[in-house]
Symmetry: C2
Subunit: 454 residues, 2 copies
């Protein structure tokens, strides 16, 4: 009898997050001030994020307790299943054993609520009225709106205008959970108005929406800003994924040789990888391979610079050292909206730099080819972002077929594609496009990076 799913009981859900900073030999340098480039202190960050999150951002503690009220909400859908992809393995005729962590079971349909719930809890504890945030395709905005209804916070979402128009149902989902959604650029902020003056039809971008949300939070009493990826405390909150997977693989009697996740800002991939990366960093598993997969349309890890850059277009947010294609870079309109961010988490950047992790980029057609083999055998139709991870697993599984090695591959199935079927339709109709990113465009974007000394 095939066993497909490995479930932990709610009592076995992790009670602490794993903080990779505790085990990194070369942790990322501190953030810099967006205007002065001076090192930012926790006080500088205080107007932006909840105090508890700021404390977590630079914490050296290896294990950070998950507050009981946060655990209580997470238990509504967690622990999430770990699934053995027997049918896909068979279809690929590979000796590899493939496992995926299925995060699509959350009400919002992705891993994003893992941090949204925690952030909302801290905000409520701090007496805040609400959060301002940005969202691209809507995954993050949905997750934070869900957290908002559960912790009674107002959630103001600046949604990239083109997605606002093209993905009305993600907006309705946010509104069903009480989120207040406006298309970005909007007339509600200086940053938005400045863009609209130049181009009243601007399709918007994640960088612009971040600038708007930051400004809104700073200029409204009782509001702070919520971010769904990139920073360390967000990645920290996502480690429940990998901590669960670790126990579930134990149940299955396996340990991964390769762990794979798609990476826009990097939070879902870090969430599954970091608890295992601990074993590599501490020397227990020196051969463990971790692969972060991005889109060729926004290749921060594979073609970007490892340098200081602003996190947002208007240059009002913290400056971080990270792999980046430049804060002004506007990626081609690939369907994987979540992979269109110009940077990647500083901790992931540092792990790539130290050789502890690998990066890989794919075009969207090959990615949906692989996702199609997955849905045909495993049933699940994944989000286009997740499909990038699926493609990397597909390639590794075929490599195992060639070499005859029965490697154990673990990946994060970070979300379902129920709101992304336009991508699958374009794929079926063979009108999906691949985009070639020209060296000139990338070079121009990289010329705008700030100069940071010290």
């Amino acid at each position: 009898m095939n066993q497909y799913k490995y479930f932990l009981s709610e009592k076995e859900m992790p009670t602490h997050w794993y903080n990779i900073l505790a085990d990194m030999k070369s942790p990322p340098p501190p953030y810099r001030h967006p205007a002065t480039m001076d090192i930012m202190t926790p006080d500088d960050l205080a107007p932006v994020f909840p105090a508890a999150c700021i404390a977590q951002e630079a914490s050296a503690e290896r294990w950070i307790e998950i507050p009981e009220p946060v655990q209580d909400v997470l238990r509504m859908w967690r622990p999430s299943p770990l699934v053995r992809a027997h049918r896909w393995e068979q279809a690929l005729d590979t000796p590899a054993r493939i496992y995926y962590k299925w995060e699509g079971v959350s009400p919002a349909g992705s891993h994003k609520p893992n941090t949204a719930i925690a952030q909302a809890y801290y905000a409520k504890q701090e007496g805040l009225e609400g959060f301002a945030t940005e969202t691209g395709a809507g995954q993050w905005g949905s997750a934070l709106s869900l957290a908002g209804t559960l912790f009674d916070l107002t959630i103001k979402v600046f949604m990239v205008a083109i997605s606002y128009q093209q993905k009305p149902y993600r907006r309705v989902m946010m509104e069903t959970w009480g989120g207040e959604v406006v298309p970005s650029p909007s007339s509600e902020t200086h940053a938005g108005r400045a863009i609209l003056e130049q181009d009243p039809e601007s399709p918007g971008s994640l960088g612009i929406a971040i600038s708007e949300a930051l400004e809104y939070a700073m200029t409204h009493d009782g509001y702070k800003y919520s971010l769904g990826s990139v920073v360390n405390f967000v990645l920290l909150h996502q480690t429940v994924i990998g901590l669960e997977a670790l126990k579930q693989l134990e149940m299955a009697g396996d340990y991964p040789d390769i762990i794979i996740g798609c990476a826009g800002g990097g939070s879902n991939a870090a969430g599954i990888i970091y608890p295992f990366m601990k074993d590599r960093l501490t020397g227990d598993k020196p051969d463990l391979r971790a692969i972060f997969v991005e889109s060729t349309a926004c290749p921060s890890m594979t073609r970007g610079a490892y340098a200081y850059d602003w996190g947002d277009t208007a240059k009002t947010g913290p400056v971080a050292k990270m792999h980046t294609v430049g804060h002004g870079f506007i990626p081609a309109p690939v369907h994987a909206g979540g992979l269109r961010y110009h940077g990647i988490a500083p901790t992931i950047s540092a792990l790539l730099d130290s050789g502890d992790a690998e990066a890989r980029a794919y075009h969207q057609i090959e990615v949906l080819d692989a996702a199609h083999t997955f849905s045909a055998t495993e049933g699940i139709i994944v989000a286009p972002e997740t499909a990038h991870a699926v493609k990397a697993v597909y390639d590794e599984a075929l490599r195992c077929k060639e070499s005859g090695e029965a490697k154990v591959i673990l990946f994060n199935a970070s979300g379902h594609g129920h709101f992304d079927l336009a991508a699958y339709e374009a794929y079926h109709r063979q009108v999906l496009e691949d985009y070639h990113l020209e060296e000139e465009k990338l070079k121009a974007a990289l010329e705008t990076l700030p100069t940071v000394s010290g």
Copy 2:
């Protein structure tokens, strides 16, 4: 600590379906031939359904084994979670203990694959090439397309034209699993062409689509017809839901006082109710209440006749004794497409007739009011069909609040609403309409019922 979810291991998944015919004192009378009104024999049904399904249709066996290959596929997402709705209970301030079985975890997003997988297995065993079927909003067509890709069968789906236009993503989902989807009425069948001649812009109906699928199956070698509800073998396949719930409630130390499901043809409600109804029919639980919930727009149980009627508009399918609003009845365009079928399962009809079950009808606005309280506390955005069950639970929970009774209420959360957010959008914008069904219209539809003697 709140425990939310009760999970069974894959080994605890039911190995047999429960056949309620074995325990009914007054089982439904046999089907009649659509033209002659003579009693139909299994041989008469042979061109329509797989032989194994026909054998199940009239079986008197209480327990029917689930073939191992069917169990193996079901294990990809089953057993599904039973969830205690702690937060909703708290918001409703009710002493009732509310549990829901969450069927939205299947790849197609509803309970429908439970029977689609079984039917596809039997079809493959029989050497068939494929199935023809109909679908309204697309839940059933998706489920059968999923089953088709897993068992290598061609699935031809006649999709009600108005849904084909309004719900393109359900169509893309079917196509992603290899389904061949055409809008109904189509030019591919006599039945479709006849309608198109009268009205080239016909929005279609479930009755018409059934006629087309039946005709297609009968006129194409290697094809049979697959039905997603109403008939006994379909309800039988859905009893895995209730059988699992029975064991899961045991884990929670509870037994339901009231069980609730929404009912179009009735399969999801019967699936959760029948394994408990067994206890009522055999005298163990004489006070158990079972409530089937329908739409006021198509009130077969609450305002229809209990009489023989055709299952399809073109009068080519079997005639069954059931609660019906008439095979020619065209319901108002409520968002709950799955509740727009003119009849209800013969076994449910017989249980209503013997007083062993209750029926109730709701308008769509009150239903979404209730669903909104559910999504705000439990996170899950349910399908508009499921929202009808949610509304009945809501009412019973408030009744418990008034009486102070701590009743145990179990309901089937049959599917998610990710493809139905247009209904929620209309609700938020306050443009959702309720429809009043006039007595005259109903009376006219009921005048078309056949005369059956003997």
